[in-house]
Amino acid sequence: MSEQQRKQNTERSGFSFGGPRPGAAGMPVQKARDFRGTLRRLLHYLRPHRWTLAAVLLTALLSTVFNIVSPKIMGDATTKLFEGMLAKMEGLPGAAVDFPYIHRILWILVGLYGLSAIFGYLQQYLMAGVAQKIVYDLRRDVSAKLARLPLKYYDSHSHGETLSRAVNDVDTINSTLQQSLTQLLTSVITLLGIIVMMLTISPFLTLMILITLPLSAVVAKVVAAKAQPYFVNQQRTLGNLNSHVEEMFTGHAIVKAFGHEAKSIAAFHRINDHLYDAGWRAQFISGMIMPLMMLVNNLGYVLVAVAGGVMVTQRTITIGDVQAFIQYARQFAHPIGQVASIVNVMQSTVAAAERVFELLDEPEDLPEPAKVVKLTAPRGRVCFDHVRFGYSPEERLIDDLNITAEPGATIAIVGPTGAGKTTLINLLMRFYEIDGGAITIDGVDIRQVKRGELHSLFGMVLQDTWLFHGTIRDNIAYACDVASEEAVVQAAKAAHADHFIRTLPEGYDTILNEEASNISQGQKQLLTIARAILADPAILILDEATSSVDTRTEVFIQQAMRRLMKGRTSFVIAHRLSTIRDADLILVMNQGKVIEQGTHDMLLAKQEFYAELYHSQFGSNGSKESTG
């Protein structure tokens, strides 16, 4: 996945030598739903830079104008040369080429070209700064937004989707700003400039060139329209092929175990043949545009050469003008093609921007209350008072839940997988807002406490260990802005992590890699426990599951957790009989709801869900215990 993404990024940030980005004509373009609105909003990001952008516009204008005027001036030199030659040929007395004049013109040209290059570079230089700054702002906004989004967003959107908006889409905007915008600018200026210049030379020849213009537009349009269905077909087949490959490779062991290799290969060949068929056609047809456009361009060239030639013989135009005209005609096709492709690029850019803005428009957490209560010296008395909650209004999961956890108490949450045990934790941490009732800590409604402060009351150790790319020390000290070396080591010792950390080559400075795969799952869990110990919270949230840990580490983890829980109010997603039996309160959950609550003995006596669950989990021995 990450590799695939990297690949895409390579392609996107790949630079071009000023040409339009490669993308075959006729390829379907993603379109924005609200093009104008999105564009306006995107322009909003450009606003702070309007003066720099004005400078970019000016330099682009100057650079292009100097470039465009030059062929006409050069034509004058050629004309002078030609006239001198003709005069000499005709044997006029004192006939000579006017070299001082020609040389003067050539020096002027050197100056113009030089200036054009300088302004051209300036334009690129300025644009690089602006474009990157804009994208930086956009990225910062996205990151700030992600910090304000409620957990609900994260639970209902895949990481891949969010990542692709925050990275790939922003990157698309980046390269458009960097390359396509200035290209569009210079292309339009060049186009207009050339037309003006051509008109000043000869309106008649200009007309001849302009005749070819609609022709090339028609050619491009017809071919692109023809190619489109093939591209759609190719894209679809490619999608099929990719998902077949993905499916077969990820299920490789199963494919082999059931002896289906040949079948999988046959299916692959079928799709692959299909892809070949659609692929070469799409490529062939879209590849026709280039030669056809070139042909049209060449026809214009011949027209100018012939008509211009005839006009020179009739002395209605000079030879230098014909030369200049040919140069203009040659340059003409390039910006047209560019503008056409940039229009496509713009469309996909606005579509990308729209996706980014959609993310920026997601509803946020409720704002902090105006008057916040400060919790000093929290003791950890937690109350659920007539709490009502459902993830969606139609489905009420919790109806009138009342729990009181005294400071230092242990609340065990049990239930089958997928019973919604994390729901309670989501509410407790105010990751989700409750629909009715109140949750209080030490008598204070959690909605009256700043989120940050509320969260700092809790320590969390989840089964899904989260560590970041950084040193072990930084990971343990994550909760604290400053933590002394001693405190970190103390916490690691308490979590039974000190020993294994010291066996690592770099000790506490060992850098955990991206997937933290350089330490084992159990060791990761020990680190998250150390992190919670160092944070020293009043209330603990623990997930006891240690399913992928070897027995010795598991014993360590248990001991560490027990030490951590001492003296703190603990909410434990319990998997262990000892924890459950010793808990002050057991909440039994099933299908998202709290269906029973009470102590172990109370619940067993009830002979309902808990009792059944308990027996099935711990086998017949458990039932013996309850009956005996």
Binding site: F17, T78, Q132, E247, F284, A479, L577, S616, G619, K624
Partner: protein
Amino acid sequence: MIKLARFLQPYRMAIAMVLLLIFLQSLSELYLPTLLADIVNLGIVRGDTAYILKIGAVMVTVAAAGALCAIGANYLSSRVAVGFSKQVRALLFTHVENFSLQEFDQIGTASLITRTTNDIAQLQQALTVMLRLMVSAPLMCIGGIIMAVSRDAELSLVLAVVIPVLALVIYLVASRGIPLFRQVQVKLDGINRVLRENLTGVRVVRAFNRTDYEKERFDQVNRDFTATSVQVNRIMGSLMPLMLLIMNLSTVAILWFGANRIDLGKMQIGDLMAFIQYAMQILFALMMLSFMFVMLPRAAVSAGRVNEVLEMEPQIKESATARTEQRAMVTTQPLPATAATGATAATTATPMAPSQLKGPAIEFDHVTFRYPGAEEPVLEDVSFTAWPGETTAIIGGTGAGKSTLLALIPRFYDVDSGSIRVGGTDVRAMTQAELRGQLGVVAQKAVLFTGTVAENIRYGNEKATDEEVRQAARIAQAADFIETMPEGYDALIAQGGANLSGGQKQRLAMARAIVRRPPIYLFDDSFSALDYKTDAKLRAALKEITNEAAVLIVAQRVSTVMEAERIIVLDQGRVAGNGSHRELMATCAVYREIVASQGAEEDAHE
């Protein structure tokens, strides 16, 4: 890159044609300025309108011929490039299908997927561009030089100066910019990483109240990336203006020196105009070539990655009879009836009747195995026997080697020493199809394929009747939820089984193994995704149909293994205990430790 060129072999005629056509097209492009020179030199100077028109007609014909050649070349090159990628992709896929898990571990599944899809797409793109530009650019360049020299050799000295200067400028800018591009890539990965960490760890970040800290962390990578991006764009931004400047200045130089030569009568004015256009064509071709040098390294990386896979030999070699199968798979040709292959895979997939197994079902005989490059063996000197009609459970902590042990039985890996016998035969002496035909495997993570529910179950036995499919679903406790689906057994399963819960997927995976009715069942921690009730029901139903089969279960829960006839306790790759629950409680310390860690100790003793 060059190694992959062998796949172009079948296209050598087409490629030759492409070269020829592009050569002709380049000639036509070069010929146009020559004709223009004629118009100026012969037509305009003499005022011969008829001649001008005649040459004009010739020019149109040349241009049209050039376009035809280009279209022809495009047709052929499309077929070559797309055909090439099709071929390499097919070969790669077939090759990978024959890999054992060892090669999958080595390269990684995700990477294998990207190599088969993205990398080959990259190669196809590179080949297309190469066929179009790589060929025409040098041709235009050389042709332009020849034409220029033939027009006026002395004036060509201007080119002798300009070309190296242009090359130098491109080199200087690119050599500064390209390393920076790599840095940009690395820094973009950094942005990606911090974002991904923030997404996956959102609960922890908020719980520890580190939102501001994370914002700062992100801002840091963001700033870093921006700074490098600005730098690289400023460097690369100089390339285009510089190249334009060089091209323009060379025109000026040609005019300057050309004017002198015309004055001396050594050159005609039309030649000068043609010369300028040759120079433009040459310099343009050079710019195109420089573009190629940016593209080629990227394609070369892809080629290297594809080649690495193609050159990887599957570690697991079939016995002599099985070789035919491997070859046959690559070519997908009909096979000899005796060999187990494509068409016959289904036949072999139909398992033998359980009664065919007499004597021990699975024997591990002093098996030692290590993953390549690992210091310690995962399994060391493991010996045990599993009998038909018995359940053999394997328990132990992670890293104890349980799943590895199970993966050795279908011969996903080969043992380093010792041997494994299935039904009395060494697994290495059978064909893979023959061996796997006796096994019903349920993996730890349920893998389903796109298709209907029935198709997925039938994956285990293609000849199963509808009734057999239903029965398998019933035993696997899957029938209930299947029947609640609107389309029942014809309900479509999305890719990766995304529309099913973990437990549902696992039950379908079980049904898939059950429908085979194999003499040997292998369950790799397959019960953990099920809730306790379903787990118990399923095991009871399974018991009824497996009374003659050998069942191997890898488990984490003591409750799952407690009733097994034989429990193998693995501890750090070695067998620490072998016996029933009762025996092990009495004799095996490691087992007692495991039971204790799951809090069932007290119960067991009561």
